[in-house]
Symmetry: C2
Subunit: 344 residues, 2 copies
DNA sequence: ATGAAAGCGCTAACAT
DNA sequence: ATGTTAGCGCTTTCAT
């Protein structure tokens, strides 16, 4: 058994062609399952390719065909639990296609987003999925003139460049406010991330205060954090708020993790939840099922957002231009009262 | 102000060359900051490129230079909390380089891993970072003959194809067992994921039982799960084990999430932790700081693993072959006793 | 069903 | 400091 010496130069179609005695063109056809090739030569080519350990060069293929099966996915970070879930949705859908996601992170910085987008576009991807509707003017320009499907995700409060898939965070905030008011809570505090650049959190907060205002209620106190362990922060912030404003009867958190921390703290303190104080979070992270009480929350439908966005890109890529784009998919965040918001 | 009509055909270097009256080659030099170009032409080229909205084509560039600044990252999934953290480490390091991570998911399936690897390699990346040391023979062969740095991560119990960065899970299991025995616990249960393909969990379990055996102790009960909300599963499993084997005095969980669920359940039941029953998890997810008690755990140093792996790839990519590869970095998982393992 | 020629958009290598 | 030429490895197009 002669062992093949490891090639220093990566193998090319030519190598397979020579090894199989079939023209490069036909080898290419076999390897891509295109065009008519007799079963006999098919087999010979396959065998040769396998024996050599040939791996096609998509760089060359992409250049020749001007078709690149990459989808650029641009998100703030991986630390925020929601984005891994969106990505899971995206890759579930793309797994059934030829498309491959390529992920870039912006760390919530507009300049970084611009740079990452530029880098991504230079790979000539088949589509772009990008978080949020707020981008720098150059970024918007790049998206608009890229000539590929662009799906802005997470948020639908604004004008998309092309398509958008998400929920209305303003509406989510309003609905939560209404539910809280309806249960008779009056002294309501808001606890969340500092949000200079977290547009979604800001919109939720705006919707929230707006709906409270309609009921003649103002946010009684608020507290913001950044960084650190969310569960621990939730405890700290809750303590701070209740020390400062003891008559608070409801705590609205901008995410479930800090909400869970707050809940644990309240229970530790022997506070009657939801009788004395009600709580609600945001996101519907099922990671948290199993807390002593089910936290009221609103499902942001992250996985579906990922799936829908990927479907739009995949459909457009398959159609090759037949698709006009401009899809708008607004999903409904579903409120779940859990056990911390319903004063039954 | 004449507005440029949106080009249907993507712009090429040639367009910039014509718009600026500078040769394609020099345009290329300017855009890549290579070679000597006078400040004057530099400015003209930059302006033309900007005005046109030119975005370079890396597909063509990659083919011409046979240099592709992508790093293939192959991991099981995004749902397991540890991988987003590894990715964060990787992208922290790569952000300071020309390299871009491209992520592929295997869902813990060896065949999928093989396929994803093949796809990735066909992009001719500058390096591969892949989770685990266990791969199918074809996958190993591809890695070995790819001619690029390969870093296998998470685990160091085995033989790497090239470099590896991780912790010894066997040792992690052993150390946890020793700590538990040292505190005088005797009736010890193991609770974890079903692990036909989770080699790391299996190795931890092996190390764990091995060290217990040395102390003359056998695992008194065990329980496995798959899928579902980890916190909730932790509760259920804990209840099941304690119902079945009431004299258990220690619960070792294969991850912190189920450990946290177990802890919450025990506290609900009024069980004296760690007096009556001790608990420990694995991973050191700081997500969980803020629980009623700090769960004993062992930090798997995920972020550092990501960073180290990325550094190895980045160094090799910079050196261009000067680097022989074959790096082995075994990090020490650090045990933290928390409040659930030290019977002070 | 198979092959030959041309060229995708860039960059390496060599002029000048 | 700038330009010219060739070609990266594949696919498209057109023959046969």
């Amino acid at each position: 058994m002669a062992n093949t010496p490891p090639p220093r130069r990566p193998l090319t179609l030519r190598d397979v062609s020579e090894a199989s005695g079939v023209s490069e063109m036909t080898v290419s056809r076999v390897l891509r399952n295109r065009g008519d090739v007799s079963e006999a030569t098919r087999a010979r080519v396959r065998e040769a390719a396998k024996k050599l350990g040939y791996v096609p060069n998509k760089i060359a293929g992409g250049l020749a065909s001007s078709r690149v099966n990459l989808v650029a996915v641009i998100i703030p970070s991986m630390s925020n639990l929601v984005f891994p879930e969106v990505l899971t949705g995206i890759s579930e859908v793309l797994d059934d296609t030829e498309l491959q996601p390529v992920v870039g992170f912006t760390n919530y910085l507009p300049e970084r987003e611009e740079k990452v987008l530029y880098e991504m576009l230079s790979w000539r991807p088949s589509g772009v999925i990008i978080a949020g509707l707020e981008h720098t003017p150059p970024a918007r320009a790049m998206l608009a003139s890229a000539g590929i499907p662009v799906v802005e995700i997470m948020d639908t409060d604004g004008e998309p460049v092309d398509s958008m898939v998400g929920i209305s965070h303003r509406r989510a905030g309003r609905e939560m406010a209404r539910a809280i008011v309806q249960q008779g809570y009056k002294r309501i505090a808001f606890l969340g991330t500092k949000m200079p650049l977290d547009h979604r959190a800001r919109k939720r907060f705006e919707g929230f205060t707006e709906a409270l205002a309609k009921a003649g209620i103002e946010v009684a106190d608020q507290e913001f954090y950044s960084g650190g362990s969310a569960l621990a922060k939730g405890r700290e912030m809750t303590e701070a708020v209740l020390k400062r404003t003891p008559d608070i009867d409801f705590l609205y958190y901008s995410n479930d993790m800090i909400g869970a921390g707050g809940l644990l703290w309240c229970l530790d303190q022997g506070i009657d939840v939801p009788g004395q104080i009600g709580l609600a979070g945001f996101n519907g992270v099922d990671l948290l099922e199993g807390l002593p009480m089910a936290l009221a929350t609103m499902d942001a439908r992250r996985r579906e957002i990922g799936r829908k966005a990927a479907e739009i890109v995949a459909a457009a890529a398959a159609d090759e231009g037949a698709d006009a784009g401009g899809h708008v998919v607004e999903l409904e965040p579903s409120l779940s009262l859990g056990q911390t918001l319903s004063r039954v």
